[in-house]
Symmetry: C2
Subunit: 146 residues, 2 copies
């Protein structure tokens, strides 16, 4: 879907912002009826908070924007497969749809059973996957060299 | 351990505060070397944020208090078995020990495989379990009657 790629571009912009700030370059946006209502990127270093993942920041911003705890009509676009914490947080929010770019075979939520997601949440993946993956790989490669 | 029961009393006080505020009555404290450095109780309603669980609030407060992302030398005391989101958050923080009161056979983290916890985290459970469980059961019973 063209919309998925367009929104993933916005999530990638967030990932690039994270990179500039020395954070693991993962970004997310949350859209409701085609309009972005919240953005977030990894801020674990700056906030000294291991829970400050892109998805958590976007999720909290989205519920604040909508004034409600639930995001059934929303879609989160995130550059990398969510970790279990973020997946379970999105389940509590009953998010309508999750669209992610790159798989995370090491820490991704899909490795856990039973599913960590809300039963009604739809998932699409692989959107701009190569670019979403490359920015993270390059980040860690440059860290190892440093 | 006497310390566990004493600390769980403090977590229960947090749960009672949550109850007074109309929140699901779950509380948590985080201790480092026998001293409480952070407290939290469920605030999902007040903050309109489905991630505002007792453990998440205490965890963020603890990392802020210590000025670091990791809690290897800390113990979290929480009245109810953490959900997958909180368990995975505590894994990111590499928490030293988790002590919880009541089991949560419906939404607890122990139902998921592989383990959501950090491999070095120790777990003790069943501390003041009856009281930790009763406050939640009574809360939902009174909600259904209302």
């Amino acid at each position: 879907m063209e919309m998925d790629e367009q929104m993933m571009r916005e999530a990638l912009k967030e990932a690039h912002t994270a990179k500039q700030e020395g954070e693991v370059p993962i970004g997310a946006v949350i859209a409701c009826k085609g309009r972005i209502i919240a953005k977030g990127h990894n801020m674990t270093e700056r906030l000294c908070d291991p829970t400050a993942h892109a998805e958590m920041i976007a999720l909290t911003a989205a519920t604040e924007a909508l004034g409600g705890k639930y995001l059934q009509d929303c879609t989160i676009y995130v550059t990398v497969e969510p970790c279990p914490m973020c997946a379970a947080a999105l389940a509590w929010a009953q998010i309508g749809t999750i669209v992610y770019g790159a798989d995370d075979p090491k820490r991704g939520y899909t490795q856990f059973t039973p599913s960590l997601l809300h039963p009604k949440t739809e998932v699409r993946k692989g959107v701009n996957a190569e670019e979403c993956s490359r920015i993270v790989t390059e980040f860690f490669a440059s860290k190892r060299k440093a």
